[in-house]
């Protein structure tokens, strides 16, 4: 196992553990206002200090991790569960109108950055964390469809797929039995990368108010709140920022490490 993988897995599990722990324990109630204790710098009492309402930053970071992980994970789930079957289908019917339709559809979705999807949804249905999940999830669909199709196409050229066809197996069975297991590594690696991109996207959306709404804490909104106070309380901006960076860095390192471990030839799509 590479250093990347160990460091990445350690960072990622630290964040996941903090998020899980927040369900049963946080140093303070993350929503409890304590105006007299507002804007404290990090110290023994409040490890990460307090915000302008005197809320404990450490507790907010822990609970905020929950939001980030939930949104990013569900978005990867949406992207994989729709994108992978689409990619497999397109590859199995290479060159047909169905393939063409799926790929054109993909291109079309690529023309809608997740922010634009979030704007559309929010304008009509109002803001919320669900928007962020749907917006990022929709954007993940073509990512997974495209890499699945690409990998599946090269597998379909291989002779063991021919052998399976000669054994009378249909496209669906071959996709499930031979193609999917051989693209699984690629999907695991790409899934990790999309997970980290999801964390970043969620932070951006909640920063501009298109993601999780109060009182649900989220790192992006903590940054939005910190913006006006950055000159006199920079820790309010620094801490959530570093939390995001470490989480994303951890996931990326884990993705790279997994790729080296599973199959160094895997090329991830990173945008």
């Amino acid at each position: 196992m590479s250093r990347n993988l160990i460091l990445g897995a350690a960072l990622s599990s630290l964040v996941v553990l903090a998020a899980l722990l927040s369900f049963v324990w946080t140093p303070y109630d993350h929503a409890a206002l304590n105006i007299p204790a507002k804007l404290q710098t990090p110290g023994a009492q409040h490890w990460f200090g307090t915000d302008h309402f005197g809320r404990d930053m450490f507790s907010m970071i822990m609970v905020g991790a929950r939001t980030s992980i939930a949104v990013a994970l569900l978005a990867v789930g949406i992207g994989m569960s729709l994108g992978v079957p689409l990619g497999l289908t397109a590859a199995a019917r290479k060159g047909s109108w169905l393939d063409e339709l799926i790929m054109r559809g993909n291109d079309l979705v690529f023309a809608f950055p997740s922010l634009v999807i979030a704007i559309l949804i929010t304008a009509v249905f109002g803001a919320g964390a669900v928007n962020a999940i749907i917006a990022i999830g929709i954007f993940n669909i073509p990512v997974f469809a495209r890499i699945t199709r690409g990998a599946a196409l090269s597998l379909w050229e291989r002779e063991f797929i021919m052998a399976a066809r000669v054994a009378g197996k249909g496209a669906a069975r071959i996709s499930a039995e031979h193609i999917l297991p051989n693209v699984a590594n690629l999907l695991i690696v790409q899934g990790t990368i999309q997970f980290s991109l999801g964390i970043l996207a969620e932070a951006g959306l909640s920063y501009v108010g298109l993601g999780a709404q109060p009182p649900t804490p989220s790192w992006g909104r903590m940054l939005a709140d910190a913006q006006t106070m950055v000159s006199f309380a920079p820790h309010l901006a620094l801490i959530p920022g570093v939390a995001i960076i470490l989480t994303v860095l951890g996931l990326n390192l884990m993705g790279d490490g997994l790729r080296d471990l599973l199959d160094p030839r895997i090329r991830v799509a990173r945008t």
């Binding site: 002779e159 052998a163 066809r165 000669v166 054994a167 009378g168 031979h178």
Partner: protein
Amino acid sequence: MSLLRIDDLSLSIHGFDILKGVNLIIEPGEIVAVTGESGSGKSMTALAVMQLLPDGARTSGSIRLDGQEILTLPETRMCALRGAAVGMVFQEPMTALNPVKTIGDQVMETILIHKAMPPDQAEDRAREVLTRVGLPPDRFPLSRYPHELSGGQRQRVVIAMAIALRPKLLIADEPTTALDVTTQAQILDLLKGLVDEYGMGMLMITHDLAVVADMADHITVMRHGEVVEAAPTPQLLAGMKHPYTKMLFAASEHQVTLPEPLGQEPLLAVANVVRDYPLPRTRLFARPGQHRAVDHVSFTLHRGERLGLVGESGCGKSTLTRAILGLEPVQDGHILLDGQPVYTGNRPNLAVRRRMQVVFQDPYGSFNPRHRVDRLVTEPFFLLEKPPTGTERRDRIAEMLTAVGLSPDDAGKYIHEFSGGQRQRIAIARALITRPQLILFDEAVSALDVSVRAQILDLLAELCAAYDLTYLFISHDLSVVRTITDRVMVMQAGRIVEQGETEQVFSDPQHPYTEALIAAAPRLPRRRPMVAR
């Protein structure tokens, strides 16, 4: 002073020994061939002379070009030698040229990079060498891109690049392995002509002993990084000393004895089959054109008969194979196995499919790397209405693995634990397990080393006796087809131009194309029996 003198060359890459004490001498105007099976280190020897070894390579010994030691030469001086004093031609013409630069630019680059002449003269020289290699600029302008040329033409461009500055030494690493026989013959002629004309020395790396015997003045045989035997060609052919050399030559003209073919009951009937592919759309609103890959092909394969199908790449033999397997529909004609169509409506006919199996060329790509051997060889059971289970399944697997010369214990292993030859045995076991009436061998021994190929051919002959096999053997290799089939068909541009008894067709070809194919295929000279002194 010799042109090239390699003394006691050893090479290791990341600690693995690749070459051990190799010696080799090339005189000006001489063709020296280095031959051997995969893993013999023959290509690495060539790359060592060019000093284009992979990262992590360590060399010892001496390589002297015109008296100058190469191994200790600084990289900048080496760059000045490459392309100017030594030229190199590679195996894969399809990928050896930069796809985004014109052939003129690429040939001129050799000249310009060495500042050998000003650009306008360089362009004249590029025209001149391209003409010399058979690509006159009036038919092949310098502005052509590699993708606009065929494989043989691209190899000519690569040769033009290598000889543009009249190097003293030309290194050719399997220069014709990726080419068809007729193209191969032309390229070999070209290389030979260049050596004569320019008085170059040539180091030729090839696994093909017939090419070696035909071209070389001097032969060096390698195995596992060591030179096992080296001698002038006539001497070596007349009296091989090392058992490995003898085995290698024997294996490359290996003959098998097939049992007498059975009766004349038709099994596979192919009648007037046409297979068209739509060409990519060239105009937006016009119907795309058609490419006729198989053009009114008809033949009958009888039960117990071994039929060969030979032809060069692109002649339609793979397309025909897929049509017979019922993997693709045909546009006209019909294919019947035992009277039943292989493709009905718009889907393959499974009742017929279960009576056919296939063995492919690539022993590495034919198996799902994630499955064990037992699952791999039983994949055709999927075709059966009642696939055997439990003990019966185990017994069938064991029987088949034994029949192809493996052990029943191999059933639990993964495919990466086997060598290329063993994998091909597993592929044959997979094809035989349902006891099909017909097996298609699609270039099934083409990717194997000669010694392994000889063993697989023996295995096929044994299986013919044991299981009364009926097969269609598709190959570009005439010598293999000659020994492993009873009857043969020759295919050219989608049509069968000649068919008949194998021996008859080979000894007395009727069609000019068959004649050309046989003439182009390099042959080992008939060796005189060794005379005791």
